[in-house]
Symmetry: C2
Subunit: 298 residues, 2 copies
């Protein structure tokens, strides 16, 4: 297994950063998790645009161009034999003097690794059970909309959900509005169509979320982004979670109460998988597509 | 220069963690910065107690006993020739599978490094100028009282202060109350005595803060921990910042307005330095004190 590490392909065991790297010390970095299908990244440009926004907010320089990174991601997936999975791209601010000041730190660390999809163990749910976390997303926090490396809130929420015997934590914001899950965005359905928390609730603007919104609109459904208290949403049908790592995962239970299924969820999941397969050219040899088509590069 | 890295003394260049370490990926760890004087740590027990509380909150196992770590810190300071400076102790959750779940991650990484005190450059202020940060501490956040490795708020606040040409950022909480600086606690004075933000404002309970509170009381001054809006505190005299790395640093300016000096600040600073020197046995050979006295071990 190899990693793309500061411009080189190295064995993963050799991809090591100094204990003085600010990523390790302060979570002073950002990341993207990008789906790989047919050996190619899905919605690369959208991920890189989000990354650039976060890098701008944090003042971290991305040390390689998006196109070079895309070629490296495809090559990494190839050498690691990952035709379906994810690539994780992490950029930290790198090393600097002791302390929070970032003035003398301008040697960012960039690493990409590939990961196989998390396949449910035999007997494990392919649907997820959620519990509401007592931890709250603070929607006033300027960092909430960015995919940075300060993830203790998500780590603690997820750990507590697992202690309570379920799969995932549902996070509300400080106003009690439904925001997101620890590792993805959430949706539900009502008579009118598809519903998901608005960006103003303090969520991360997920790439898969945006694709699902496109697909829902394409199906002619009414699609709403809302600020909604949990008590108004919990009894709705068709809850699901979206993420680049897992696609669309139906939610079967929230806080011990069964979620009523909605057949539109299966339609959306199929449409998402079809979109991924089409855009990534699943079934088309990577060599041919990469060499022959500019459209594969966005 | 050496580091104490997972139980071994290694050259600092060899103290490297995997890019899959959750410290690097998510800031999933904790740290302490402990003052070294006369080659010995100041208030070791207080730092280790705070670390244990944070480790309990995060569910991270500290892989060595406090006494072994203290001996390693003294040895590290000795081999690195640091008789006055700081030791930084970092513990991350270590490596685990991809994702926020910490279930399969139980190989924590522990590292200690030593650092010389930041000596002001010629012409540089030994006093600090502060600006109020537009970023806010969210006092409802369960993590605010813990010295964890999610430090982007502090990094961003400090960066912005430096862009504005001053030394340090003053952070308010979401209610507009004075909380702390990016890298230390703050105090000011009034006719009655010494004032500092209460723990409930969302601050980190600093070790140097607690020593200064002891010293102020020992001097017979009235000492108050308060929830106080910035507008009520800004015009007060005798502002200063405390941290393990720098001790007590007078603040000369806040948001461009000069802070009136108070002679009690110099008294406190001298008392702090005297306490550090006494407790650490400055001037007494490390070998003799470490071998002969149990009191040196707390």
């Amino acid at each position: 297994m190899k990693a793309f590490f500061n411009g080189q392909f190295v064995p993963i065991a050799e991809a090591r950063v100094s204990v003085l790297d600010r990523g390790f010390l302060y979570g002073d970095g950002l990341f993207e998790t990008i789906r790989i299908a047919g050996g190619r990244p899905f919605r690369w440009a959208a991920h890189l645009e989000r990354m650039a926004r976060t890098a701008g907010c944090l003042g971290i320089r991305i040390p390689f161009e998006p196109q070079l990174l895309r070629e490296a991601a495809v090559e990494l997936a190839r050498v690691n034999g990952v035709s379906a999975g994810v690539v994780r791209l992490v950029v930290s601010r790198g090393q600097g003097p002791r302390g929070y000041s970032a003035l003398a730190a301008d040697s960012p660390t960039l690493v990409m690794t590939t990961h196989l999809p998390a396949v449910p163990a035999p007997g494990e749910n392919e649907c997820w059970r959620l519990v509401t976390s007592p931890l709250r997303i603070l929607e006033a926090d300027v960092l909430t909309a960015h995919k940075h490396c300060n993830r203790l809130l998500q780590v603690l929420a997820r750990s507590e959900a697992e202690r309570r015997g379920v799969d995932e934590a549902l996070l509300l914001n400080s106003r009690g509005e439904v925001a997101e899950a620890s590792s993805g965005n959430v949706f539900w359905t009502d008579e009118a169509g598809l519903v998901t928390p608005a960006l103003e609730t303090g969520i991360l603007p997920g790439i898969t979320r945006s694709v699902v919104l496109e697909l829902g609109r394409g199906m002619g459904w009414r699609v709403r982004e809302v600020r909604c208290p949990l008590e108004d949403a919990r009894s709705c049908a068709g809850w699901f979670e979206t993420s680049s790592g897992r696609g669309l995962v139906p939610v079967t239970e929230i806080d011990g109460e069964a979620v009523r299924p909605d057949r539109r969820v299966a339609l959306l999941r199929a449409a998402l998988e079809q979109t991924v397969a089409q855009e990534c050219g699943v079934g088309v040899a990577v060599d041919r597509l990469e060499a022959g088509s500019d459209s594969a590069r966005v």
